[in-house]
Amino acid sequence: MSDRAPRAHEVELIVNGRRVLAPASRTLASVLRDDLDLTAAKVACGRGECGACTVLVDGRPTMSCVTAVALVRGPVETLEALAEEVTDLREEFADAGAFQCGFCTPGQLVHAAALARRADELVAEDDLPGVVRDRLSGNICRCTGYQAITGAVCAVLARRAGAEVPS
């Protein structure tokens, strides 16, 4: 699939480091899930309103369910490829009770991965939990009340930045 040249109305994407050809008018979420069997990203609303489909595009958290393949502007990373990078986040999520059903968790972790890459900058902010809550407000969780997610992300950001863990 990836060795040939793109046909009309096809676009070349880089997904988790791999070259992929995909129809330009499809959504990124459907290409990931249906064509590439990368099912970590979930489709829970299909309208870009809940964050369950979050993937990184060019390092930025993006709603893949409302992103047309034609408008993807950079390499795509999904949780499948990010899992190792965020081992600390995943462990902290598990310890803190930051997921229950786990349906929104891939989106939360992908978004948190982007925050963790900016740990130094974010930890320098006055109100880290407030910043994390703001940043993660596009990722709905119906189970946890966000409490444990916020705590886990703050703990990992602080640890990565070599700062003290906020209580």
Binding site: R33, K42, M63, C101, S137, R142, A148
Partner: protein
């Protein structure tokens, strides 16, 4: 070691956090078909004819089913005759919008959707009641024949508990009032989904389905398909949240199964988010009239209630939800008596279902509000009042509960300590800050004996010869942590490492009898059965080890059996048992709970549950008097759960339930228009986002209940009960207004405060001839105009979603890299978009969406932000995130506005141009109503008669009441921005104020696009501020205000801009106020007075959105405060 009480990780944490665990929609099955459901567009109608032949003939359609595919007259069993009334597909009559009429299975989702449109249904629409009060009116259409004497009353409970006469006589202080807890949606993150695979040879069906209770799915599906119960085989699959929604069969399970049987192929039926909100079974709305009396000591003496429960159109679980709800009156406190009459009322709306808390949060709102009112009347501290009324332990309550342990008093004390209750209350009184504290208490059982055999749970444990252990149970862990807790129990009893325990749940063939995870019964029932199985297996293993080792006493630890003579690996003992098969020693048990009583119609008191859990929640809130916004600043949730088997999991249930309860307290509500749910999207459903919630502090008041497994009671439902009243009580404490109907949204608070402060607005429309026409039309709407336009006018429209119309093909999407190619494409008829995040969603509802979209994001010149000649030139394709990051400090108020838009993810894709150009904001328009703007001139504006409290214009509304949603459109006008418009030949620059000529409608010439926004860089004296009132973080503005001015060193203002957003069809300029401020040194009060005068002169609010004028004036006050501050 023992894992009981340990904070262990969820056993499947690795696969869940890697995204590897498969939910039903993730299952790979290359040959499965896609299903879609045809739903009724009418609240109540006869089906005159139903013709599916055209749909069946469409290429790629493999099966179409209607009621004719089921046995005649069959209904879901649910609570049994005479309550069973709901057919699997509409049988001649539809009784709610969204009722399932037919279902199709096809090769692709697109073909399935096209097939729905090819089905011809002729309805004869009938009037029917949409609310309980309408349904109880004399002459209201009867939706069903019921067994009660009253029309449209499915069940009537009328009971006296205890000594009502004594309570009546002893009451010295009486409070009375009406309380409404609305219908709210579970909004589980995983939409309900079923994959069904029919096996024709064996006449069996396998189901992978999102459920909390596979047994009940098998019960209903087998009944409806006419096959034996054990021919419906549920398989284990991850379940993405339940909260009760998935604890009984909905419709997708049997529809998928029936389609698979007919098509001979596996069928996947996944509900859309719109279907989840619009057609699933939400919490029952309760209207509770309550009278409570107490004596002078603050002892509650009597509860007297009259309750209406909105059943919806069919008996789903309404009868038992109402039963559990009224129990609230006789369970927690100890009045002399309680009296109630409660009616389960049929309305032509979607049936209510099971929802965490199950009737208790609804009645609790009334009870706990009145306990507070009594405390205030008696001059008692509300928390102290509750302490005086806590019922005793080991006693029977009025409702028949045999309470075991209760640490409610300790929970109340934990709230008092946790919130620093006494000191803070004293401080609030001195400072007169609009902050308040509220408390509410609650109780809930640990599994109700609601069905035959609900007092039984079977479980099995396997010990493999490699030492691994497997727990098998037939319940389902939808996120509660049940599987982990059961693994902890098995590991502890068998002395093995938790990592060596796996859990198999749900599977109908491989797990023994178990009714599932509902009614907070998981920990008690399966905890008991798994504990019993593990203990008995441990005994067997110890006997085997004793024989092998020749030891007298054997203990199990570290995966070994250890005797005084030596030790042996557990796995090595398997082969020694005669009962072992294939290297596995299995043990299965049946746990039967004694001492509880089953719900039955002939009794009104039952001991439903083995133990009862308690909680007290305390909230610290701040009320913004200017905007009505209630913010929860601190929240303590103290719970008596007996012993917490896994404190992390318990705290998760507490915080999660409290958050959900806070959502219902402050924002969530399913809004209906003509029986149809309006807010069928997360966008329009104000459930809390992360930034909306405080830090919720769970407190486990650790105890031990001898009647629960390992001392545990329940927690799952308890946590959602107190938040509603806790917040209402805190709001009362803060500002002295008592809100009795949830959610406590800003409109209610502002309206109550206006009344408290004696503020009234008068708009004198009769003096304004320009508004007479609009006023006249609005007057005609309720007099029949709305009905005529809706019923008949919409038929002449463009056919939004009408049967027969073909779903739009996916668009071609172009991304040219030059402005010339872009404008050429637009000139050819392509729709210009930025990131496409709004356009792709909107086109689903457009009657004729553009076949070609062309994006600005590939054009380098439009991706730049350039500062030159004192101006900032912002390319239209700059994303909102990039804009926020690039704005200079003097435009910080613009950055603040950008940060309030949507979510960070959307801001990473959405562009400046796209934000300015986004479609109008109206929940009728955006959720597919065939409104005037969508469907054409003969269609109504649904906002006139519908719920327009938040989203619609209060100034200048005309035929359409929608507003321009763009916050940039508001804030950049205050920054004096201009817009550069480009077309194939030439460009022009216009003030931003001239960009809009209607709500979200651009004054562009043909072929024109937004190319650039030009913002003057403000000098040092220019100040600005933006404030926005929204229902949740990232929502569109309910109202917004941007204020900028030149502020001289002496405080004199000049060149003032006051722009109000979401108040009028386009951003509205308060020019008179701005002019009046020129050359003055304003005060906040002075600006408010000027603005109020101007608003009163120009506004023409709808019936229920006049409050927005107060709110937006409040936002301007905040902004003026900011300008005065520096």
């Amino acid at each position: 070691m023992s894992y009981i009480g340990a904070r262990v990780r969820p056993i499947d944490w690795e696969s869940r956090t890697r995204g590897e665990i498969r939910f039903t929609a993730d299952l790979s099955s290359p040959d499965h078909l896609h299903a879609a459901v045809l739903r009724s567009p009418h609240a109540y109608a006869e089906i005159r004819s139903l013709d599916v032949s055209r749909a069946e003939r469409l290429p790629g359609v493999r099966a179409v089913i209607t009621h004719a595919d089921f046995p005649a007259g069959i209904t879901y069993v649910h609570r049994g005759a005479p309550l069973s009334d709901r057919p699997p597909l509409a049988d001649g009559v539809v009784r709610h919008v969204g009722q399932e009429v037919a279902a199709v299975a096809a090769d692709t989702p697109e073909i399935a959707r096209a097939a729905l449109r090819a089905i011809r249904v002729r309805y004869r629409v009938r009037p029917a009641a949409l609310t309980p009060r309408e349904a109880l009116r004399p002459g209201a259409t009867r939706l069903h024949e019921r067994v009660t004497d009253e029309a449209n009353v499915a069940v009537l409970l009328r009971t006296d508990w205890g000594d009502v006469a004594a309570g009546e006589a002893a009451g010295e202080v009486v409070v009375e009032g009406d309380y409404v807890y609305p219908s709210v949606s579970h909004a589980c993150m995983e939409p309900n989904t079923t994959l069904a695979a029919w096996n024709e040879a064996e006449q069996k069906v396998e189901l992978w389905t999102s459920t909390q209770a596979p047994w009940f799915i098998a019960k209903e599906v087998s009944h409806l398909l006419g096959i034996p119960h054990d021919h419906v085989i549920c398989r284990e699959v991850a379940v993405g949240g339940g909260f009760g929604a998935k604890s009984k069969a909905s419709e997708h399970e049997v529809l998928a199964a029936a389609l698979s049987r007919k098509a001979g192929r596996p069928v996947l039926l996944a509900l859309s988010r719109e279907e989840e909100f619009g057609a699933n079974k939400p919490r029952h709305r309760f209207e509770t009239h309550l009278r409570t009396s107490a004596d002078a000591d603050g002892t509650i003496r009597l509860f007297d209630a009259d309750i209406l429960v909105d059943n919806g159109s069919y008996n789903h679980m309404g009868s038992s939800v109402m039963r559990v709800g009224v129990i609230t009156l006789g369970s927690m406190y100890r009045p002399d008596g309680a009296r109630f009459a409660s009616r389960l009322v049929d309305t032509a709306t979607q049936p209510g279902g099971q929802f965490r808390g199950y009737g208790t949060p609804q009645v609790s709102l009334a009870v706990e509000s009145q306990v507070d009112d009594l405390a205030h009347r008696l001059g008692l501290d509300p928390l102290e009042m509750r302490l005086r009324n806590v019922g005793p332990e080991h006693a029977t309550t009025l409702c028949g509960y045999a309470v075991t342990t209760s640490r409610l008093a300790d929970c109340l004390v934990a709230v008092r300590d946790g919130l620093d209750w006494d000191a803070r209350r004293a401080e609030h009184r001195t400072l007169r800050a609009d902050r308040g504290l509220g408390v509410a208490a609650g109780m809930h059982g640990s599994g109700a004996y609601a069905y035959e055999q609900a007092n039984r749970s079977d479980a099995a444990i396997d010990l493999f010869d490699d030492g691994r252990v497997r727990v098998r149970h037939g319940s389902a862990d939808a996120g509660t942590g049940q599987n982990t807790i059961l693994a902890q129990i098995a590991a502890s009893e068998l002395g093995v490492d938790l990592a060596d325990v796996e859990v198999l749940s749900m599977d109908s063939e491989r797990t023994p009898f178990e009714l599932g995870a509902w009614s907070s019964r998981g920990t008690h029932m399966t905890g008991s059965s798994v504990g019993l199985a593990a203990r008995e297996l441990a005994d067997q293993v110890r006997s085997l080890a004793a024989a092998k080792l020749g030891a007298v006493s054997v203990t199990l630890r570290d995966g070994k059996a250890v005797g005084e003579t030596g030790e042996v690996d557990l796995g090595d003992l398997v082969g020694l048992s005669d009962e072992a098969r294939d290297g596995c020693l299995s043990h299965e048990v049946s746990y039967v709970l004694e001492g509880t009583e089953m719900i039955s119609p002939d009794k009104d008191r039952f001991n439903l549950s083995p133990t009862y859990a308690y909680a007290a929640h305390g909230a610290l809130v701040e009320v913004d008097r200017r905007t009505g916004k209630v913010s929860v600043l601190d929240y303590v949730a103290a719970h008596d759960v007996g012993r917490a088997l896994n404190p992390t999991a318990v705290e998760g249930q507490v915080a999660g339930g409290a958050a959900m309860g806070l959502g219902a307290a402050l924002g969530e509500e399913l809004v209906r228009e003509g029986g149809r749910i309006v807010n069928t999207s997360y966008l329009h459903y104000a459930l809390p986002r992360s930034a909306d919630l405080p830090s919720i502090r769970p407190v486990i008041v650790n105890g031990e209940d001898a009647d629960g497994p390992y001392g545990a009671k329940s927690v799952g439902e308890m946590s959602i009960i107190p938040p509603g009243a806790a917040v209402a009580n805190a709001v009362y404490d803060a500002v002295g207004v008592r809100i009795t109907e949830l959610p406590i949204t800003p409109d209610k608070v502002v309206t109550a405060l206006a009344e408290q402060e004696g503020r009234v607005r008068r708009h004198h429309v009769w003096r304004r001839p320009g508004r007479w026409w609009v006023a006249g039309i609005r007057m005609l709407y309720p007099l029949g105009l709305h009905h005529v336009l809706h019923r008949w006018g919409t038929r002449w429209g463009r056919g939004v979603g009408a049967p027969g119309s073909v779903p739009a093909a996916p668009p071609r999407i172009l991304r040219p890299d030059t402005a010339a190619a872009l404008t050429a494409a637009v000139a050819d008829g392509a729709q210009a978009v930025g990131g496409g995040t709004d356009a792709l969603v909107e086109r689903e509802r457009q009657p004729r969406p553009a076949p070609v979209l062309v994006s600005t994001i590939g054009v380098p010149s439009m991706r730049r932000i350039v500062a030159e000649e004192g101006r900032l030139r912002i390319g239209a394709a700059v994303t909102l995130a990039e804009l926020e990051e690039s704005l200079p400090p003097e435009l910080a108020y613009v950055a603040a506005a950008v940060r309030s838009i949507a979510s960070p993810q959307i801001r990473n894709s959405a562009t400046v141009g796209g934000n300015l150009a986004q479609e109008k904001r109206c929940w009728f328009f955006r959720n597919g109503f065939p409104c005037y703007k969508r469907n054409g001139a003969t269609s109504p504006c649904y906002a006139v008669e519908g719920d327009h409290r938040f989203q619609h214009a209060a100034i200048d509304g005309h035929r359409c009441q929608a507003v321009t949603p763009s916050d940039l459109g508001t804030v950049l006008q205050a920054a004096d921005a201009e817009v550069v418009l480009l077309r194939a030949v030439g460009s022009r620059r216009i003030p931003l104020a001239e960009l809009y000529d209607g709500p979200g409608e651009l004054a562009l010439a043909a072929g024109e696009i937004i190319a650039e926004v030009v913002v003057p860089l403000p000098g040092p004296g220019r100040r600005g501020s933006f404030h926005k009132l929204a229902l949740y973080q990232g929502d569109f503005a309910t109202a917004s205000a941007a204020v900028t001015a030149e502020v001289a060193p002496d405080g004199t203002w000049s060149d003032v801009r006051i722009i109000l957003g979401a108040m009028a069809p386009t951003p509205w300029r308060a020019s008179a106020t701005a002019r009046a401020l020129d050359g003055t040194q304003p005060t906040t009060d002075g600006v408010r007075r000027l603005l109020d005068r101007e608003l009163d002169r120009h506004a023409h609010p709808l019936a229920n959105n006049g409050w927005k004028l107060d709110a937006v004036a409040g936002l301007v006050e905040h902004a003026v405060d900011d300008l005065l501050e520096r």
